[in-house]
């Protein structure tokens, strides 16, 4: 059974590659074009905030839970962000049950970095009692369908869910509920490098060709707030700057979608 599967996979990979060599992506997109993006928020009542993001057939849910807890000793007056990703085996034939592996840890940490470094959440407003109690913000990334580019779908679902989040003051006796203060909209754009080509928003078929990815996260002022080269390859500076330009432009387009959330 395995053998024939592998043959089919090889043939498909060849086909995807031949098309690319003819300047075509198998789904007909331009090289810097995202698949269709859909954002839905507020689907999980039990969470303080939630969103489902679909980029093509890739689907990621993020739920935000908040609870009071201890601050870090070196930031006694700030809330704490805890990001976690579960690559549950429901989402892909290649995911295995078990504790987070290097891929899910990297995924969560790159999402976390974008939110943290853009200062998207005003953490100082999440202090309850300085040095004693602050809000912990759990960002739980739950991947439902992996058709490629989990990184951007996860980052987009995370910021969408945060935009939809209510601080549950009432439940813990701290007065009225409030909207979580979100003051920036970090957006990550991931490109796949295949030979000399740059493929923005790679699908899972394209990811089978190459694992050479780069993710650039930018904020509302087009500043770069996070970069992650991922995959075993040599990146030239020229290619990097080309990717940066594309990423800034694409992030602007996606950010416009976020403004409607």
């Amino acid at each position: 059974m395995k053998l024939s599967n592998e043959i089919v996979a090889d043939i498909k990979r060849d086909y995807v590659y031949q098309k690319l060599r003819n300047n075509e992506r198998i789904d007909g997109r331009g090289f810097t074009e995202f698949r269709k993006i859909r954002i839905e928020t507020g689907i999980i009542d039990k969470a303080e905030g939630s969103a489902v993001v679909r980029i093509g057939d890739t689907e990621v849910m993020v739920g935000i839970k908040m609870q009071p807890g201890e601050p870090f000793p070196d930031t006694p007056d700030r809330g704490v962000i805890i990001s976690n990703a579960e690559l549950v085996p429901l989402a892909s034939p290649t995911f295995e049950p078990g504790p987070p592996d290097e891929n899910s840890i990297e995924l969560a940490r790159v999402v976390d970095r974008g939110i943290r470094e853009s200062e998207a959440i005003d953490l100082e407003k999440l202090c309850i009692t300085e040095g004693e109690e602050v809000w912990l913000v759990f960002i739980d990334i739950h991947v439902l369908d992996d058709d490629g580019n989990l990184q951007d779908a996860s980052a987009l679902a995370a910021i969408s869910a945060l935009l939809n989040t209510t601080i549950p003051n009432e439940r813990f006796g701290y007065g009225d509920d409030e909207i979580l203060p979100v003051r920036d909209l970090p957006v990550s754009v991931t490109s796949l490098i295949v030979d000399e080509m740059i493929l923005v928003d790679p699908s899972s078929d394209e990811e089978k060709l190459s694992k050479s990815r780069i993710t650039i996260t930018t904020d509302t002022h087009d500043n770069i707030v996070a970069i992650q080269k991922s995959g075993a390859y040599t990146l030239t500076e020229d290619k990097l700057y080309e990717v940066v330009d594309i990423s800034i432009e694409k992030a602007r387009e996606i950010r416009a979608l976020l403004r409607d959330v």
Binding site: M1, I44, L90
Partner: protein, 243 residues
């Protein structure tokens, strides 16, 4: 806690009659990567199930030379419950996974795929009592969607005792403050209940109450069964339209 009235004038706290199901929405084929999948809403439960297989099973010592190995993983998203759940399996989900797997094994035709596995994954995205039965209902549709040969469908509901009355399909408050919770899964072939494949109970009921509860469970399972079939028919239609 016992003085909370959960049934007033024959109506439950969400307005249902004792023998009424919550709103149920079932959709088959919702995921691309999985071989079969299903999304279900049962009241406020939101659950997605996926099936992979039959596929080759590794490492080899897990294989059975005579039949397919069925695996079932029930999992709750950290944000699916009021207090954030730590990721990973806990004792409750291990037990649920075990009895849910056993609910499907008598129905799946296992001899056809020796040395292989069928993997059933159930992700609870939002929980509001009855997640294991809702998960089973979704898994049943996902198995059919994946084309797994089965002798019938598995349809499941919880019944229970609330304010002394036997009721169908409990919500969280009824589960917490009621007198009994009885999840039941049935094997239904050609519209006929062949028997029970999952049965658990905790609480306190007499034998007569148990009988009454199971009658109600059968009624509920038949309703679920019709909705499962409808979801599968819609799925086929969807396929036709696409083709």
């Amino acid at each position: 806690m016992e003085d909370i009235k959960l049934i007033v004038d024959g109506r439950r706290i969400d307005g249902r009659k004792p023998d009424e199901l919550r709103n149920v929405k079932i959709e088959a084929g919702v995921l691309k990567r999985a071989d079969g999948s299903c999304y279900i809403e049962m009241g406020n439960n939101k659950i997605v199930a996926a099936v992979y297989g039959p596929r080759s099973l590794h490492p080899k010592h897990l294989q059975n030379p005579n039949r397919v190995v069925v695996r079932y993983r029930y999992n709750m998203a950290p944000f699916s419950v009021d207090e954030r759940k730590r990721p990973g399996p806990d004792r409750r989900s291990v037990e649920i996974s075990k009895v849910s797997k056993e609910a499907f094994e008598p129905v799946i035709i296992k001899e056809l795929f020796p040395r292989s596995s069928i993997d059933i994954f159930v992700e609870v995205l939002q929980a509001d009592a009855g997640t294991r039965v809702a998960g089973i209902n979704a898994a049943s549709v996902a198995l059919a969607d994946a084309g797994i040969p089965m002798k019938g469908l598995v349809s499941a509901v919880a019944v229970g005792k609330v304010d002394g009355e036997i009721v169908l399909d409990l919500v969280k408050e009824e589960d917490n403050y009621g007198q009994a919770d009885i999840p039941v899964a049935t094997f239904i072939r050609a519209g006929k209940i062949e028997g029970i494949t999952l049965l658990q109970m905790d609480g306190r009921v007499s034998k007569d109450e148990l009988k009454k509860a199971l009658e109600l469970a059968k009624k509920g399972c038949m309703e679920i069964y019709r909705m499962q079939k409808e979801a599968l028919i819609n799925r086929c239609r969807g396929d036709e339209i696409v083709e």
